[in-house]
Amino acid sequence: MAVSVIFPVKNREEYVKRAVKTAFKAKHVMEVIVVDGGSSDRTVEVSRKEGAKVIIQSNLVYPGKGIAMRDGAYLAEGDILVFLDVDIKNLTPDFIESLAEPLINGWAAFVKGCFDRAAGRVTELVAKPLLRMFYPELAKFKQPLSGEIAGLRKLFYKVEFERGWGVDVGLLIDFHKLGAKIVEKDLGYKDHEMKPLHALTDMAYEVAEAILKRAIRDRKIDAYWAEKYLKSVKSLDLKPEVDGESI
């Protein structure tokens, strides 16, 4: 079975060369795809030079990790797709081989990578409680938001890609709904950049939205009121106020 490795990127010139080179060294890899979100540095040029197929996200005005993953999945030709963050400093071919192994051996149709570290803040405070509420069978996953995933290409045509940060948990739920066998694979230690706390608000919002949207779709909550409520809060101005003045 042939493997396509996909890196969603934006302005990652310093990581992309090593990432593409490493991906090509992994067993069964037939192509490396870089989906660029409109980089202003040399990410695209460097990726092409290293032999990656490069496509620019279809929507540059409202780009997002999910759109990049979707474009990568649709471009790929391998039987197995492996998605990785490009900024993993200790990326080795083993990462890719470990993710692809359960698929090659037919043990699973979707693989979620996890790492030797405490799960992130959005995972613990948003994703896990909501999954426990609506999809308890998925609450056992240690890191449901992990961006290191692999799956059978054909199944990626049957799921919905969220635009932004909700994409990883959205795919997990959608693959589960398709009846795909899902396993979590320990990939060891991951050395990468952590997001600062203030950058997590949007991420937490999008993760919650992706889970709730699916809970509505799967009739786990009253669809009419929930949809109306979600639409109304999305447009709220959430700037905090002190003594009646915005800060």
Binding site: K53, V54, I55, I56, Q57, S58, N59, L60, R70, D71, G72, A73, Y74, L75, K154, Y157, K158
Partner: protein, 216 residues
């Protein structure tokens, strides 16, 4: 003409309208993935056959119908999908393989795969804006198949007018019309004054040369 249009979004809507207008007796088939859009498209385009397929069923459909199709227009909202479908259409020897791209920056990857007919729906924005804003030079259209371009040049001052006269006299294969600020039209450069606009048609190399001279 038998045309297969893939996609049911905004680009596909205008493509379907155009195909119908230029070939009233032709057969148009539209593939869309979602049942909601299939319903809307059947109402909008009763003359077309609307087909609902999964994303991964389209390639098989193209292969199976390749022999009877004259053209495939890939106009989905993902350039990756458009590329996939164009590649299959090309392999199936469909005479015209066209894509309407979402992101003009992806044109290169299509060209690399030998897909020459790339429609960029955003092309008109700079052209129309430049014309409205009275830009000094505006490349209005490039006929890539025959290597011909149409440009408009604002005759901003006497120096430019005399250069233009010289170039037009020297290059007999450049054809031009001149329009005054109040809408008078002439094909004689001798009647032209400062403030007029020249609309020049010619081979790309000649136009490039002309623009180099005009832009200094």
């Amino acid at each position: 003409m038998r045309v297969l249009l893939i996609g049911g979004g905004h680009s596909a809507y205008f493509a379907a309208e155009t195909i119908k207008r230029i070939d009233l007796s032709g057969k148009l088939m539209i593939i869309e993935f979602t049942s909601e859009k299939v319903f809307v498209l059947s109402k909008l385009f009763p003359f077309a056959e609307i087909i609902q397929l999964d994303i991964d069923e389209v390639e098989e459909y193209i292969r199976a119908n390749g022999r009877i199709l004259d053209a495939v227009v890939a106009a989905t909202e993902s350039d990756s999908l458009n590329l996939r479908y164009c590649k299959v259409a090309k392999e199936s020897n469909i005479p015209l393989v066209i894509t309407i791209i979402n992101n003009p920056l992806n044109a290169e990857i299509f060209l690399k795969e030998g897909i020459a007919f790339i429609v960029n729906p955003y092309k008109m924005i700079p052209i129309e804006l430049s014309e409205i804003l009275d830009a000094k030079v505006n490349i209005l259209y490039s006929f890539h198949r025959i290597g011909v371009q149409v440009v408009s040049i604002k005759v901003g001052d006497r120096r430019l007018l005399s250069q233009l006269k010289k170039e037009m006299t020297k290059n007999r294969d450049l054809t031009a019309l001149f329009v005054s600020p109040v809408g008078e039209i002439t094909n004689s450069i001798d009647e032209v004054d400062v403030g007029w606009r020249a609309y020049v048609l010619g081979y790309e190399e000649k136009i490039k040369r002309l623009l180099r001279v005009v832009e200094g």
